[in-house]
């Protein structure tokens, strides 16, 4: 096993990886942009190396800086987390060329699975079921219309290099094709620098169901069951759960087998996820995510397996050491993503400084968070601040537990997505398991879901009255304030007399 690893990421996922590494007795190296100097992942690591720069493009996305930090820190391996360089095959190769271990799948697997068109072709060859559609890119609107006629409406236009919902348009009628094709292509160029689009059938009442897989470097593999991720908006997931109400043991085995087939086809290693669209008992390959996913904790809660631990074991060459029989699924787990966004105003991003912070507690509650009091939430980084995960013996109790947990949670300073998640959990259709990927978009979140308007009005008025009273007292009160209360935190970077460069300076 490694003695020291570098985590090339930030936020909750950096902390999540650091935690498992610490628990395995592995030393941890964090990297950080200037924006993240106060971040928890920096404070919780054994070592921290400044990358310099405010933006991701100046820091976490610069492979050379990461490799340099790894060299300086003496790390033997790099864990990319998700996002940033996690699915960058060239970087994975550069890590290996530098003599370091890459905690992720082989570059070739990343490359194949990272291209929607190439991956669909590979999956077709491997016998994995695909959504009816074309495996080749369509070059223009006319070609797209011809393809759609063949497949049958409605169809979906998707970016070949896409992900995260960018560059996707649904077309229900040939008349809509022109606008859809142009905007999808524009978005694809701007987001991925690659405007190629492909077309496939659009499924009715589809559910997004994915299978977690684990491959070692010796050809052995297991699947860890499914995750239900249908509560999403513009392909951004909000609530995930394990298991899914529509998947029984037989279906799970079938989908698991197919997922392993998909991985074997690209000689996969490590942890990965095979995403399927599920509709009326049929399932179709969507894509394979060649990394740890945001929603991996629900699988961990139900199987009892620490996926980061398994990633580290596989990357250091250890065999899995267990077979499919060892995987048992117990109880039910739900995850809610706590994003900085105003869900009542169409999920627009919310920025600010985190003031109050109160996390829920109690049995069956897991908090994966990078939040701290005083944290600045800006636009340059992902708006996901925390994940709240619950586990209980059945789905009904897990839902009740998550509702209780979201009622306890309090984050002030930015608007968060928790009220939207609570609104979903309060819907009887959700409670009965009757939903698809359109559920969240169809829910009217601008309508208030709380029933305490009069109380809120009274509290607001009394609070304002108290503040006005404070203001009147402020001048006389100021003199009494102690020297430890300050209006803002102070920052300094000191270097020693001898003039060696400060460790916190630019790398």
């Amino acid at each position: 096993m490694f003695d020291r690893i570098l985590v090339a990421n930030r936020g909750e996922i950096a902390l999540r990886i650091l935690r498992t590494a610490r628990e395995m007795g592995i030393e941890t190296v964090a990297v950080y942009s200037d924006f993240d100097q106060r971040a928890l992942h920096v404070r919780m690591a054994h070592q921290a190396i400044a990358l310099g720069g405010e933006l991701p493009s100046e820091s976490y996305l610069v492979g050379e800086k990461i490799l340099d930090a790894a060299k300086r820190s003496g790390a033997q391996a790099i864990h990319p987390g998700y996002g940033f360089l996690a699915e960058n095959a060239a970087f994975a190769q550069a890590v290996m060329d530098a003599g370091l271990a890459w905690i992720g799948p082989p570059p070739n697997a990343i490359e194949v699975m990272g291209d929607k068109i190439i991956s669909r072709r590979a999956m077709k060859d491997a016998g994995v079921p695909l959504v009816p559609g074309l495996t080749d890119a369509v070059d223009d609107v006319a070609e797209a219309i011809a393809a759609a006629e063949e497949i049958g409406y409605p169809v979906a236009i998707k970016a070949a290099a896409g992900g995260g919902g960018k560059g996707i348009r649904i077309v229900r009628d040939p008349a809509e094709m022109d606008t859809a094709f142009r905007t999808a292509s524009g978005e694809a160029v701007s987001a991925f620098g690659d405007g190629r689009l492909y077309i496939e059938r659009y499924l009715d009442q589809p559910r997004h169901i994915e299978i977690q897989v684990l491959f070692d470097a010796h050809g052995d593999a297991v699947h860890l069951g499914e995750r239900e991720c249908s509560i999403q908006r513009r392909h951004q997931k909000l609530i995930e759960e394990c298991p899914s109400v529509v998947i029984d043991e037989e279906m799970r085995e079938k989908m698991g087998e197919v997922a392993l087939q998909a991985g074997h086809a690209v000689k996969y290693e490590g942890a990965g996820t095979v995403e399927f669209l599920w509709s009326g008992g049929e399932f179709f390959f969507l894509e394979m995510n060649t990394r740890l996913q945001v929603e991996h904790p629900v699988t961990e809660m139900v199987t009892g397996i620490d996926l980061v631990r398994e990633q580290l074991r596989v990357a250091s060459g250890e065999p899995l050491g267990y077979g499919q029989d060892a995987i048992e699924m117990r109880g039910h787990s739900i995850e809610v993503r706590i994003n900085a966004e105003d869900t009542a105003a169409g999920f627009v991003p919310s920025v600010g400084t985190v003031k109050n912070l109160r996390f829920p507690g109690g049995a069956g509650v897991r908090i994966d968070s990078c939040l701290y009091r005083g944290m600045e939430v800006g636009l340059a980084y992902d708006p996901m601040l925390a994940k709240v995960i619950v586990h209980a013996h059945d789905r009904d109790t897990a839902i009740r537990r998550m509702r209780r947990v979201l009622e306890e949670l309090n984050v002030s300073g930015v608007r968060i997505s928790a009220p939207a998640a609570l609104a979903v959990l309060e819907e009887s259709a959700f409670q009965e398991g009757d939903f698809d990927t359109h559920f969240l978009e169809a829910l009217d979140l601008s309508k208030p879901h709380g029933n305490e308007e009069q109380l809120a009005a009274a509290v607001a008025a009394i609070y304002r009255r108290h503040r006005a009273a404070d203001r009147a007292l402020a001048v006389s009160g100021a003199a009494r304030k102690g020297w430890r209360e300050r209006s803002r935190a102070m920052t300094s970077a000191y270097s020693q007399a001898a003039g060696r460069p400060s460790a916190g300076g630019d790398a």
Partner: protein, 172 residues
């Protein structure tokens, strides 16, 4: 003192009266029995109403606009006292007849789809705004004429920034 409190867009009136050192609270014309206790200086409040219904309340904001969270649900608050309401009403009356389309989120203007002087239909895209790597079309809320464009392509705008001034067709 009377306060006009808009909660999630719904109007409520709160009257606070101090009598013999006690604050009497009236909401929408009915007296409200309330224990109000501030826990800390970060807006954490305990409220107990009527026969003992207890609420952990979190409040943040400034004297005009606040957000309140009660048991996980968010309440958007706009608050004016009597004097402010009179002042605001006067200001609104003076400024009537024009309309600005504002950015509801911080982002970057990717492309402008109209020019000053253009006539636009209700729902017609005015510009494309990219925020959090998603492109969003900003549309005209009413039919009318483009009076002024405040943003240029590639410009970063903050939430609440004016993007386009429209003159509504019925005003034209």
């Amino acid at each position: 003192m009377k306060y006009f409190v808009k909660v999630n867009g719904h109007d409520h009136e709160v009257v606070l009266t101090e009598r013999l050192g006690e604050l009497l609270v009236e909401v929408d014309g009915e007296p409200m029995d309330i224990v109000y206790e501030e826990v800390d200086s970060l807006g954490q409040v305990l409220a107990i109403t009527g026969e003992g219904a207890a609420f952990g309340v979190s409040i943040e904001g400034d004297s005009q606009r606040a957000g309140i969270t009660i048991a996980g649900h968010f309440y958007d608050i706009e608050i004016e006292d009597e004097r402010e309401r009179a002042a605001h009403a006067a200001a609104r009356a003076a400024g009537a007849g024009g309309g600005s389309v504002k950015s509801v989120m911080p982002g970057v203007v990717v492309s402008l789809l109209v020019a000053e002087g253009d006539e636009v239909e209700e729902g017609q895209p005015l510009l494309v705004l990219e925020a959090m790597k998603m492109q969003n079309e900003i549309v005209a809320p009413v039919a009318g004429a483009v009076v002024r464009i405040h943003a240029s392509e590639g410009e970063a705008v903050s939430a609440g920034a004016k993007l386009v001034d429209l003159k509504a067709a019925e005003e034209a």
